[in-house]
Symmetry: D2
Amino acid sequence: MFHENESVKDIKIAYIGGGSRGWAWTLMNDLKKANDISGKVYLYDIDFEAAMNNQIIGNKIDGKNWNYYAVKAIGEALSGADFVIISIMPGSFDEMEFDVHAPEKYGVWQSVGDTAGPGGFMRALRTVPMMRSIASNIRKYCPTATVINYTNPMAVCIGALYREFPEIRAYGCCHEVFGTQKLLSHALLEMEGIEATRQEMSVNVVGVNHFTWFTSAKYKDIDLFDVYTRFIDKFYETGYNREGLGNWMNNSFRNNARVRMDLFKRFGFVAAAGDRHLAEFMDNADYLRDPEYVKQWMFGLTPVSWRKNNLKERLARSQRLLSGEEEYALRETGEEGAQQIRALVGLGTMVTNINLPNVGQLSNLPMGTIVETNAVFRNDGFKPVCAGAVPDSIYPLISRAARENDKMLDAAFSLDLAYARQCFFELNMLKTLTEAEKHALFEEMCQGTKHYLKDYR
Amino acid sequence: MFHENESVKDIKIAYIGGGSRGWAWTLMNDLKKANDISGKVYLYDIDFEAAMNNQIIGNKIDGKNWNYYAVKAIGEALSGADFVIISIMPGSFDEMEFDVHAPEKYGVWQSVGDTAGPGGFMRALRTVPMMRSIASNIRKYCPTATVINYTNPMAVCIGALYREFPEIRAYGCCHEVFGTQKLLSHALLEMEGIEATRQEMSVNVVGVNHFTWFTSAKYKDIDLFDVYTRFIDKFYETGYNREGLGNWMNNSFRNNARVRMDLFKRFGFVAAAGDRHLAEFMDNADYLRDPEYVKQWMFGLTPVSWRKNNLKERLARSQRLLSGEEEYALRETGEEGAQQIRALVGLGTMVTNINLPNVGQLSNLPMGTIVETNAVFRNDGFKPVCAGAVPDSIYPLISRAARENDKMLDAAFSLDLAYARQCFFELNMLKTLTEAEKHALFEEMCQGTKHYLKDYR
Amino acid sequence: MFHENESVKDIKIAYIGGGSRGWAWTLMNDLKKANDISGKVYLYDIDFEAAMNNQIIGNKIDGKNWNYYAVKAIGEALSGADFVIISIMPGSFDEMEFDVHAPEKYGVWQSVGDTAGPGGFMRALRTVPMMRSIASNIRKYCPTATVINYTNPMAVCIGALYREFPEIRAYGCCHEVFGTQKLLSHALLEMEGIEATRQEMSVNVVGVNHFTWFTSAKYKDIDLFDVYTRFIDKFYETGYNREGLGNWMNNSFRNNARVRMDLFKRFGFVAAAGDRHLAEFMDNADYLRDPEYVKQWMFGLTPVSWRKNNLKERLARSQRLLSGEEEYALRETGEEGAQQIRALVGLGTMVTNINLPNVGQLSNLPMGTIVETNAVFRNDGFKPVCAGAVPDSIYPLISRAARENDKMLDAAFSLDLAYARQCFFELNMLKTLTEAEKHALFEEMCQGTKHYLKDYR
Amino acid sequence: MFHENESVKDIKIAYIGGGSRGWAWTLMNDLKKANDISGKVYLYDIDFEAAMNNQIIGNKIDGKNWNYYAVKAIGEALSGADFVIISIMPGSFDEMEFDVHAPEKYGVWQSVGDTAGPGGFMRALRTVPMMRSIASNIRKYCPTATVINYTNPMAVCIGALYREFPEIRAYGCCHEVFGTQKLLSHALLEMEGIEATRQEMSVNVVGVNHFTWFTSAKYKDIDLFDVYTRFIDKFYETGYNREGLGNWMNNSFRNNARVRMDLFKRFGFVAAAGDRHLAEFMDNADYLRDPEYVKQWMFGLTPVSWRKNNLKERLARSQRLLSGEEEYALRETGEEGAQQIRALVGLGTMVTNINLPNVGQLSNLPMGTIVETNAVFRNDGFKPVCAGAVPDSIYPLISRAARENDKMLDAAFSLDLAYARQCFFELNMLKTLTEAEKHALFEEMCQGTKHYLKDYR
């Protein structure tokens, strides 16, 4: 790549999982909109046809500043890459069916099932070997590239990349924090009548992915903890449902922020992910007792059937985009990847939250465990900001979550199902199960995901 | 203070040392230029007349967005302050005469004498009690104010503020790093023909004040270490003297960067302060052997006589500004204080280097010692950026410097001259002196500064 | 001192608080019994007569291996000391009357009142200036001596010694851990029929003084957590009252370990101090609701009247020992000071729990805060053992306790009652009081202890 | 195992590398002498016949308190083990021939070639996969066993065990420190006429295996740094050669401590391994310039031919021990394994130096890197002692050594020869080679060790 006038040209991006019908389009959208960077995006996917389709769609979306190329070998994508984007689906929704729903017969209800709990665990077993393979290819083809991961379980994926290749320059991005920044902006509007963007909510982020918290939050000189306290006084019982955004009952991803509001009341800090994610890090009895109880908390369990339908829709849309029946309309995606790339190639400074191994940014969590905090992005790289210590009240929760992530990583690195079983049995989400139930569940879930466990003993 | 439109109004700044004829005018200049902030500046100085004069000068410089008020009591300045600026002269140049020149008879030549070595030590003994008093007043009158210190010895001053009042929100600013960023920008111009500002040199700063180093430096996508290596190949022997900037022989502050270039060759990292400061952290034999030898390195020893003359000039200028004989002309000061204030009140994000207690930003230096690294400034405060570990080659030097700073602080906190003497004897700069010489020197220097040691036993 | 054959002679000990009628006799007893060390003990006390009496009593107890000398000046005691023992009474029981009982009218019941809560706070205000003075004298007279503190509030005292003189070689000793080791030995006897000494209970100690916990406990190859679990099943309801040790109802210091057993059930780790101390670190509602409620937990509140009576008895005994009416009978004191001295002069290796600034022995507490963990004692000094991280479940409790200790230290170092008041108001034990009640209480308690607050503004 | 009277019975030890004709006999010897422990030792070796022979020899040496069993499957040895001892030969001396001698043609002379430099690197490539396999078997068969490793390269082996199975309870033992304790005891005898054992030299150990240093050393109340300084004044030129211990010229393992003495003079701390090892961590030019230069420093290069001959002798001795021609004579081995086992089963407390991941015992080295410091051994396990910070003067050396160890581990974990090559090229010992020479050397050494690189890409 090189700088020319006020722009950077010939940036080379390798997109692993380049056949994606979600994140890939978002990136194409955002690259198109970032008009001071240009270059080539190499799309690699185990489903080459999907990558080919995205080559066509990508070139339709832009084709001027950015050119898209589907490639058949990962090395082709990675060689000489400045950036590597990883956004893969580890397995299909058939496997995810087991991740999410197999535990239900034992009373374990997961609202997402891709991060924590038994679902996250099995997904980690599938994903880690893929991440190791990607990391070893990065070591081989582009060891100094910046690597941006979007794949879940995020913390485990970042951990796998670093454990496989300790010098990798990788970080993980997640938009869950943004959603709670938006919630704070709504609180500001509701309580103070002030309109502001989510970026204007200055927050100090601490925690692990999907279980992040704000230890402070300010808008200009206004302390948002005060605002949020009053907001909760008003909306705790009814939940908060922004006009025009659809009802949580009709949308697997929507929620009324009741879990977040409850966590603020209980712990004194702003839980900063969607309610569906947060609930999975608490005791089952807290929010996920059963589907009826979940309704009281006004968030939806996301059944895999919904995801399957949604995929069908996305496939259909892919066809329409390919055929020209539909033209891709640029939009505000709310994602930051393209902005981060701009900062990293030298177009500005950016401060935002990412997932990284702990090198001290959270002073009372173990070194090396994967944490989410703010970081500074500039042309000399990304560096975490010292976020202080995790506050007392939420320390046990975050420490446990970090430890479960580490255990998932250990289990997956061992390639040993006997050891994985032991780790699985210790999951907080399974603590109400008998030993026999745990055994049965583990066997069933392994069976369900067996195509991806071939390298395990 | 409050936000209105895109600006922040009614900011209250307390300026301790408000009679200053240098830093104070610089701040007035920069506040005037920062046209989206406004408020009041309370000037407190033990020399009330000087503060009164600055009230007049300040109100001449601005008087619209900013109003200046000289006050007689420190509490009057501090009550309700949003920001406290500390820029005091600890003692007069008569004391400094001893700091700098008394050691010369023992072959100890100090190029500045205000930070390290015997001069820095005695200055610390004078300054720390003043800083403690200021800190305790801040605790009393404005415990949550942001405190910006410009006084030297910087690290010891910041240490004193935090040891007196551990919850203080203080940091220290120094422009020495900027000078080496400028040097890099000149190297870029010389070697690559590229013109760029010093701010565009992205540097990772590690070290202690006046002995800071860059462990990486980039301009856009150009690695400045490569550029600097070639620059040094070209200029090492002759030194580098920018056209129009005056000759080092005629200017106590100018230098030809030969020490910096030599340190890069010896240690592989960019020493990032002026040569006069850097030399004082090395062995005397390295650069400060004697005045003749110093000439080879093309930097000047700064005699206190020069400072006395300079003060006279500044006093004269003060009179001219007061009388209206001279009108203050706004200029680019190169200082960042006003910009930092803008960021801290919520007008943008800024990343720059400051002095703070180590909370992990430098992973292999002791926690709590005062270090200089980059930090992020936003409306939610200033937070250090994780700068990594001090590299092996310079670790012993920086570690020693940090330890000497800690010792100065311990000595000054003890208010015990017998203990201070022990600490003084261990200074690296005095290692060639006999025990008897050290005794004599300590006695002479204490005698020289005795008016400020009244609280010591 | 020097080694001769298998013993160490001419050890010089300075005893600050040498007029004590408790700890001093214990030390005399233990030095007498340690027959391979000998030397001189210099007794310094602000009550010189008390020191004189102890000189006589000490020389009666031993007089052969050890000689006791009352001295009038602290410098006389400290000059050339190998060891300094600090065991002072900060103020009299008249002040302690306010510490313990003044808060009762607001429903704040303290079982001890010398460590945490308002009582510990006021005691800290009195004690810290004394500790600073002692530390500065140690810096002057014997900077490399080993300093052993027995004074409470322990953590604050150790903190004060190190903050005043950062290079001091001081640690703090407390026997509370021993009592819970004994409790475990009783559990072993009750449940397994095994007799063993408390020293044979290998425990990993974590926490802060008087709020220490065992994260593991073993006797030989037996896991004592299992044994203790069963022991608690048996004794939880009734409490455990060892035969022949007197009833908790008749003894201010006795308890039935119900608090400890309850804490084990709640948190999964062995709380390892007496119930009276532990209760003060929890919420008032937990165990200290009111005197009636305390009875259910089967421990006694220790009224200061009891201490006053007890002092009378000790004074009477002092007279009897002086007059020869009573002869001092050697006993097993259960204290370890003399054994530690033996190890430190080179007679064996010892591992036991002490109070020290955190340098990493507890990996998730702040550096520098005073913690209690195991340490190794040898002739090359005492060094903490890496005790790991404070477990999640008890982290918030221990972190809060450590922070309150740090705050007491800050308050006392400030010598500023306005700031002290702020810190006082934040005490967890006072969280049920109104602002007005806190004000009134602080005023009353300051009034009660005013003779010792003369240096405060 | 179980305690009975004052002894511990039925301890189960798995010995991996149980066919060894060195360490195995040492252990048998020491177990026999430790008369309060007894049990079974399972000997596993890829050379089953060698294990069978050791079964016979072991049972001849003891056969009463300890029984020896050769087993064919590693799981048989590990199942239910209380202790696992790892002492394997990674490859044969044919591979080591390349490790040590291949670099000589490029002027790189290695005195040992099993730890640092190209020899240590290639050995690491062979050994790490073996360690991973052992660790995964331990995870499977005896996850809570205590694992004691004697295999080199020590730091890399311990690193591999922990990276493969993070919860492993493993540490590494090395006797190099003992040799320098002995040297200090000789210094004490020479300079002070005092006879003492090496265990009486209390030392604070810091560093990485084979490059350990003492930051303090005491015998009783005598500071051994003073003694050693005078000892060096006397013996620096001639070297020190203890009577009766053979001449360094005739013995590949002997040396005259000149390197150690020189390092003390240069750095101010006691280098605490044999000269042959220490030299490999310095620049080649320092001590290993060429065989002639090495002679000036009075230590021997250890040719692999010597090792091959020595092995022949050990094999012959094995035959004699088997046939009964020779009877095994018990001796003082100077090893501590059996004593550590005694402490770990509950027979006493022990403090000695071992290799462990850094959890803060060395405060300025990275967390997780493998370091050697003192640790406490008791029935509740082994825990490192806080050894402080690595001193400034030796920090760059130790930090580099630790980093090279980490790189060897990364290279071996990658199973990727291209990546390994990159890491190899960065070795300090190879810095004088051209790129082409490095390539040729790497190829030759890989070729030489190819039987053990089959799993590498």
